[in-house]
């Protein structure tokens, strides 16, 4: 088989491996990993009306994987009657963060300004994270819709990280590193992260050191969280497709090695 044909065959197998499970969706039995349980318990242990700062630190390209994570986390936070302050440190995450926060808040019957608010985007994430440590209203004088933040009832007892019980960074890149370096280390913030699966392994050292108090990774993390929360969502829907595609990748690796083994056994022409 020529190199081009091999590539075409791999592309076809990957396409079928992703597309067919989405059509014939099957519920897979699965359990929550200790990391997901830790993230869940972390939110469960917060007192009533505690303030959670949710940072939407992702781009539109990873929306398919990030959306179920954001949905299930916000659903849990609102179900626990916690107050939410939304921000974004990525320009693209601003709109998507606003959409999902407003949608879940409306679904749970939360009131804007009292139970939640959205502050929008601030450029230069390091300065923004450090600035919120000094004063959130100084960093965000107005919310996403242009209303002065100091007039929002939510900010009556909210000034900086001292009043924030938990920060959740929903990210597809290295933004949780900056949250760890500039919010956890100097201000002692309680940080939980929800990441795309490819980024998760980079944050296990922070989890084991206690700098991150919870880690939720990819569609499987979302599906596990939905299991703990006893609600159906995008994580469970995508779990079968993602699991099958991962098996396809494994088979491709094995096939590549088998082909390589037989190729090397052939005598030189």
């Amino acid at each position: 088989m020529t190199r081009t044909n091999t590539r075409r065959l791999i592309f076809l197998v990957v396409f079928l491996g992703v597309a067919l499970p989405l059509i014939f969706n099957i519920d897979l039995t699965h359990h929550a990993t200790p990391e997901t349980r830790q993230a869940y318990t972390n939110i469960e242990s917060l007192p009533d009306s505690a303030i959670v700062l949710v940072s939407f630190d992702f781009e539109a390209s990873s929306w398919a994987e990030i959306k179920p994570l954001a949905e299930v986390l916000l659903a849990h936070v609102f179900a626990r009657n916690l107050r939410v302050v939304g921000v974004s440190l990525f320009a693209e995450g601003t709109t998507l963060g606003e959409q999902i926060l407003a949608a879940i808040a409306a679904e749970k019957g939360r009131e804007y300004g009292v139970d939640y608010c959205y502050l929008g985007y601030r450029p230069q994430y390091v300065a923004a994270i450090l600035g919120m440590g000094e004063s959130i209203t100084a960093e965000f004088p107005a919310d996403y819709y242009g209303a002065p933040t100091k007039n929002l009832p939510l900010f009556a007892d909210l000034h900086n990280y001292d009043q924030v019980n938990l920060v959740i960074s929903i990210a597809d890149g290295s933004m949780p590193t900056y949250w760890t370096e500039y919010a956890v280390a100097p201000y002692g913030v309680n940080l939980e992260v929800a990441l795309t699966a490819t980024m998760a392994t980079a944050y296990y050292p922070y989890l084991s050191s206690g700098q991150i108090s919870g880690l939720l990774a990819g569609l499987k993390g979302a599906a596990e969280y939905e299991l703990l929360l006893k609600q159906a969502g995008g994580g469970k829907r995508g779990l079968f497709a993602q699991s099958v595609s991962q098996v396809v990748i494994m088979l491709v690796i094995i096939a590549g090695n088998v082909a390589d083994y037989f190729r090397r056994r052939k005598p030189w022409k």
Partner: protein, 203 residues
């Protein structure tokens, strides 16, 4: 002269940011807050400079009649559309800006990103070759984590997720932590070199 002034500014700012962490005075807090504001203002200005440069480069491509002119035209049209739509109609939920973002930008980016799955599979077929003991350890670890973190892995055996968890929480963390400590020490050394004026390549 300009280089000397820039070095002095870098020294003073770097030293202040280092020292302010240990001080608790209103004036220090005020200067610190002002510096953070300037940091964001400078960053926002670089975005404007970047936008103008992007626009000019593509305009030059069109003016020179190059083959990629159509793509440059599309880029400029998209930039202008988003800016004008946001200025006229705002960025609210029902605005044309929002419509273009939700129905054009987001799906296009997701499509490009999803193509990675095909290239990752193709690269895995060609690149993940077991030709040494180290490569064998790497491949077996990768396959164990893949199947252990997969819903099918749980169905095959309860030990597979445990094995994947052990690999992620012990050998992987140990290696990663070593790298992180190295990066941290390197960052401190580089920061000191900049503050003390030894490292001036940024000028």
């Amino acid at each position: 002269m300009i280089r000397k002034v820039a070095t002095i500014v870098a020294f003073a700012t770097g030293l202040f940011m280092l020292v302010q962490y240990f001080l608790n005075a209103d004036i220090v807090s005020l200067i610190y807050r002002a510096l953070l504001d300037y940091y964001q203002i400078i960053f926002a200005m670089t975005m404007i400079v970047g936008g103008i440069t992007l626009f000019l480069n593509h305009a030059r491509t069109i003016a020179h009649g190059q083959r990629a002119g159509w793509y440059s035209g599309a880029t400029i049209a998209a930039i202008l559309f988003m800016i004008i739509a946001a200025l006229i109609y705002g960025t609210g939920a029902d605005s044309p800006y929002q419509w273009a973002f939700n129905n054009m930008q987001a799906p296009m980016q997701a499509t490009t990103f999803s193509l990675l799955a095909f290239f990752v599979a193709s690269a895995a077929y060609r690149g993940f070759r077991v030709r040494s003991r180290a490569a064998a350890v790497l491949a077996i670890s990768a396959l164990l984590v893949l199947i252990g973190r997969n819903a099918f892995g749980e169905m095959i055996s309860e030990y597979l997720p445990q094995a994947a968890g052990w690999l992620l929480n012990h050998p992987s963390v140990a290696a990663k932590r070593g790298i992180l400590i190295g990066i941290g020490l390197g960052s401190v050394a580089t920061a000191l070199r900049v503050i003390l004026g030894i490292e001036r390549t940024y000028l």
